[in-house]
Symmetry: C2
Subunit: 303 residues, 2 copies
Amino acid sequence: MKVFRNIGELTRFLGEERFEAAVREGKKIKTGFVPTMGYLHEGHASLLRRARGENDLVVLSIFVNPIQFGPNEDFERYPRNEKQDLALAEREGVDAVFLPSVEEMYPKPTRTKIKVEGLTDTLCGASRPGHFDGVTTVVGKLLHIVQPDRAYFGQKDAQQAAVVAQMVEDLNFPVRIVPCPIIRENDGLALSSRNVYLSPEERRAALVLSKSLLKLQAEVEAGERKTAAEAQRAIVLAIEAEPLASIDYVEIVRFPSLEPLEGGADLGETAEREGVLVALAVKFGKTRLIDNVIFMNKGEQNV
Amino acid sequence: MKVFRNIGELTRFLGEERFEAAVREGKKIKTGFVPTMGYLHEGHASLLRRARGENDLVVLSIFVNPIQFGPNEDFERYPRNEKQDLALAEREGVDAVFLPSVEEMYPKPTRTKIKVEGLTDTLCGASRPGHFDGVTTVVGKLLHIVQPDRAYFGQKDAQQAAVVAQMVEDLNFPVRIVPCPIIRENDGLALSSRNVYLSPEERRAALVLSKSLLKLQAEVEAGERKTAAEAQRAIVLAIEAEPLASIDYVEIVRFPSLEPLEGGADLGETAEREGVLVALAVKFGKTRLIDNVIFMNKGEQNV
């Protein structure tokens, strides 16, 4: 496994690998890319495994991207553990890890931003203004550097995956975005690098998120009729019953368009025609967690 | 010469050409790209010739991009002549022409825009709000489709070339932007597809632009001391003496940053340290023309 901190060295390596494969083996090799902010967990590992299974070359990037954090957010204290990350990458058979510094990615403050409209003014976009511009801009940069055939995104950040897919479609990026299912702890908590912030009490309290979401999922899958408004209300009530939880949002929207779903729409029925995203963001102390379930008729994008 | 109207067919062709060259000749081929809005003239031909001289594959795109035109601008009446354009492309040895429809480029209205800040709020950006967002967005799309090694831009649109170069640098597009000198008629008029709009009287009147700019250039190159304010005033006076001309702007700025230059700065002295752009936009009847001279110490970017 090779580790690169310099853009030029990474692109030279990738260019050589691709060219050599063409010349020596008469083969067009496929590159799978997993962009992350590091502090890797089993959710990231699942993306790497999928990338490993589908591609000849697997590239992982680890970069805590300052421009997607708001001024009062956790950029400085975002957890980092390079050694542990490299060990996980090695175990998952990654070929190249890209570990740039902030100066390498932003030698001067960027004057250019990629902005996706519509999908970014709801859910996390409403609570974190400018966040998704930072995400799409850095993903655009990384896609230009790595030039992958496929890029893998976890569905825990369902809005992020939808926004990136919209960017790729609108701007004709030559890459396929592959959304991958949420990975959960045995007790249901969605894996997140930010879980490390939680105190033991908060960690216990946070189970209300997955419990209420997975309960709804089970009910809808069992054929119970439920409107979007009823479902939303039930989740809000369950979370409000937890004293340590403070709701940022609980919303039910169409997926992947993220357009509003009328309160009276039947969840099961709607999900037979189109995707439905039930998404929430809830704070436990200073820690903001997100989680979701996606109902999809087609098997393509699993929850 | 191959002509493509479909994105998928073009990208398959380019992919095959590159792959075949690697497999058969053990060679990494270079692609030169000239993006245009068509109605090609000798200015475009000069870009194609430069591209032909420097690359293995030359791709020309012809696309009148609706999203870079304002609501009261000339999108509908922008001149088009596909047959003449293809003949010129053939003469210049182009390998592939990309001629997409608006529906091919924008099957749905784009929700994604690439925006460059700072460089776009001055000069033409001040008179044409949103114009450069449309330019950078379509250039981003075209770069993703064609994936060239080099892309060629005429310096008549000096601000456009600077904005695109900034985008490429900020977003790590794997391409080199090659700025190319303005091509002029024998009497000095800068070549432009929009010259076709001019009546014979307007055509004669429009010579005041190149005359005043080239006079300034000759004076500065002859070592005459002139401040930015004096130079700007002299050009404004010359144009105001022409009854058919109506000034949009005459400005002197640093290049390529497009940052303001103090009125008291000596042009010749400044140009020894950094680039200086003298740019103007002037209307003759309904036709808005632009022209400029660039003073550069280094020979890299000629005027």
